[in-house]
Point group: C2
Chain length 408, copies 2
């Protein structure tokens, strides 16, 4: 038997989740900056336990446990819409669908919009799950060169790609504009406006993936691209994995009616609907249990961790490691100087029991980011951050090669 | 914008779930035999409430609420495997993956096995969700003629289809062998063996969908096709929608290693993993809260409802309505005599506020089953069954046309 899907997915990374579980088992003393997980203290255990008691007596079992509508629990959809308006300043007439994590939003968007051989443009470094969703339908993820210093895709390069696409094979532009994964950067407002104008000019859909958007630690929020969407070409996806709990698989997607209806069909075929018990739990949390206080608690928790990690990084040799300060989210992405021998660096890091994500794993075409590493600062403790970053500095020093390398 | 997925799905039925919700709202006195739902009394509320308390204190939050492995919670996977061996006599070395309802098992199987234009053979009448999953990937569902009296696909017709498939476009045979949806029939053992031999001879994969398999009310269970699978060509999918609660979206799939690995990748890309909180809940239920007693309770509950419905049907005019007695599951499928004017029948039924599923909705090519109706007996109460079947009889009598119709 010949598995066609498998051929498309050749080279797909082994599940980091399973690798991580394995690593955790083998070496509990490892300090991991690798995966984008929340820490245990981020889970609102007492509140969840309290709600989980009363819903069995206060909520109609036909809502809690029966089959439900594919687009989700009406009350939760209403509350998410209201939250988008009041907290995220995202107000329009479009409907939303509840999905099983924002990963599923991307999966159904590709299913609806792309045929085999169609192209989805992505930031050069991006979330590998989205890249795999694209490949899974035989579509082609194509990287847009980035201007990392400017925290954006290169606008000229983007326009050039769109202009050259005479057969209109480019169906979508996938972006994580806010607290990008893996870069931690945020596209500035003026560039968001320019990107939106290009999407209009060349008639492509923008998929704005925003799983970290709530986690702003410093400064003012930048308006979302979806806010500028006057002609219904932006799909906006949010997630509760980072502000409730990943295991519940709850996210949502907002899109113009015509497109959302197709996405609802695609989800219906795939898993009927997302877990309704948790949709009720979340609605109850949002309505009666100070959900925003919980989000504020997370922001304070992660801000301290981010500050600690940046202080650690700032104490390392500035000629050998640099990074752009994130104002929110989950990640710092560091660039090591080209003089660093990366093979040696990873070996020293492994000996010192520190795990990071190599840049090329997050690179759409698997190369070009040898000297980048992604660091997660939410899951490790403050102490682990302090110790781990010091060890990182040691590994860099040891791997710094004296010979002068060709400039990049 | 041109939505390709939508073109494939043209003619897809509106979600019965949403239609049902609408109907329920509009007319609460309607008696519905339409949808395959469990009744409220099927939900083990007290047990779930009890478990939902203790897991917050007894289970590691990193298991309960964190990201988890795509293939599922290891303890639950082990318990499901053990249950398959002890309760369902299905013992082999293959692994299982937890999925978000058995619908998702079919979705990822089609994604892995089929390219656009490939063919999946289906029983002539079957679960529309599976048909839509096939269409969603641009594959083609093709009906195998049935011999309903023999409770099976027509074996000669099946072999003819396989023999004529010189380009090997037929990748899979989708079957619900036990308590079929919509027919309520079960393929006899000898025919299961013959079907398996044909799948070997012509090298196709069998997808054995078994969401109702636990709900046996009379006689001995028939061995599953998966039990005969000596060379790893049967994908076996089970579900907890019917024996725990649909809203939790928990099912599982068993397949040979090489194939299961691809299906795990396909699921990872789609929704990362199924809700872990509910995987823990179910594992705890199975391990410490007499899960099999709950299943036995359901079987007694539904057996009484089935018996009541059959008694009602048997009291109707036998020359105008006939059916094959199910020995388990959720549905009875009735054939009305060809002399019945079906348009009139549905109009009388509507006036009498009774809802059923017309046969053609469950027909792969949307025709040929005008005179069949599917009746669900699990959701309505005993009283609703008695009243509803009497009204059904009245509608049949009123719609019986005197003129002699051409024999079918």
């Amino acid at each position: 038997m010949n598995y066609r899907f498998a051929n498309r997915m050749l080279g797909m990374q082994t599940s980091p989740l399973r690798e991580n579980a394995k690593k955790n088992m083998e070496e509990s003393e490892v300090i991991s900056f690798a995966y984008g997980f929340p820490p245990t203290e981020a889970f609102p255990m007492a509140t969840l336990q309290e709600i989980s008691q009363k819903i069995y007596t206060e909520v109609d079992p036909q809502i809690l446990l029966q089959y439900g509508a594919t687009e989700g629990y009406p009350l939760l959809r209403k509350l998410i819409k209201e939250r988008l308006e009041t907290i995220n300043a995202l107000k329009n007439d479009e409907e939303i669908m509840v999905v099983s994590g924002s990963t599923q939003a991307m999966d159904v968007a590709v299913k609806v919009l792309c045929n085999e051989g169609d192209i989805v443009l992505c930031e050069e470094m991006t979330f590998s799950g989205a890249v795999n969703a694209i490949k899974g339908y035989g579509a082609i993820p194509k990287e847009v060169p980035m201007n990392i210093e400017e925290e954006s895709v290169d606008l000229e390069a983007l326009e050039e790609l769109l202009r050259m696409d005479s057969n209109h094979r480019i169906k979508m532009l996938y972006l994580i504009p806010t607290f990008q994964n893996p870069l931690g950067t945020s596209i500035p407002l003026e560039k968001r406006k320019a990107i939106y104008q290009l999407s209009k000019k060349y008639d492509v859909v923008i998929f704005e993936d925003d799983p970290y958007g709530d986690l702003l630690y410093e400064g003012d929020p930048i308006p979302k691209i979806k806010e500028m969407d006057t002609d219904g070409r932006v799909i906006y996806a949010g997630s509760f994995s980072k502000i409730l709990a990943p295991s519940t698989r709850l996210g949502f997607v907002m899109a113009p009616d015509e497109l959302l209806e197709k996405m609802i069909l695609a989800k219906q075929v795939s898993d009927s609907h997302s877990n309704f018990y948790w949709q009720v739990m979340l609605a109850e949390f949002m309505q009666h249990h100070n959900f925003e206080e919980h989000v504020d608690f997370l922001k304070a928790l992660y801000k301290e961790k981010l500050t600690t990690m940046m202080a650690g990084l700032d104490s390392l040799a500035q000629d050998k490691i640099s990074y752009i300060k994130p104002t929110g989210g989950y990640f710092i992405c560091c660039k090591l100087d080209n003089s660093i021998d990366m093979e040696n660096f990873y070996q020293f890091l492994e000996e010192d029991k520190v795990v990071v994500i190599p840049g090329n794993i997050m690179s759409v075409n698997g190369k070009g980011y040898e000297h980048y590493i992604r660091l997660n600062f939410t899951k490790p403790t403050i102490e682990e951050i302090e110790i781990g970053i010091a060890r990182l500095g040691t590994a860099i020093e040891k791997a710094a090669v004296k010979e002068v390398y060709r400039a990049s």
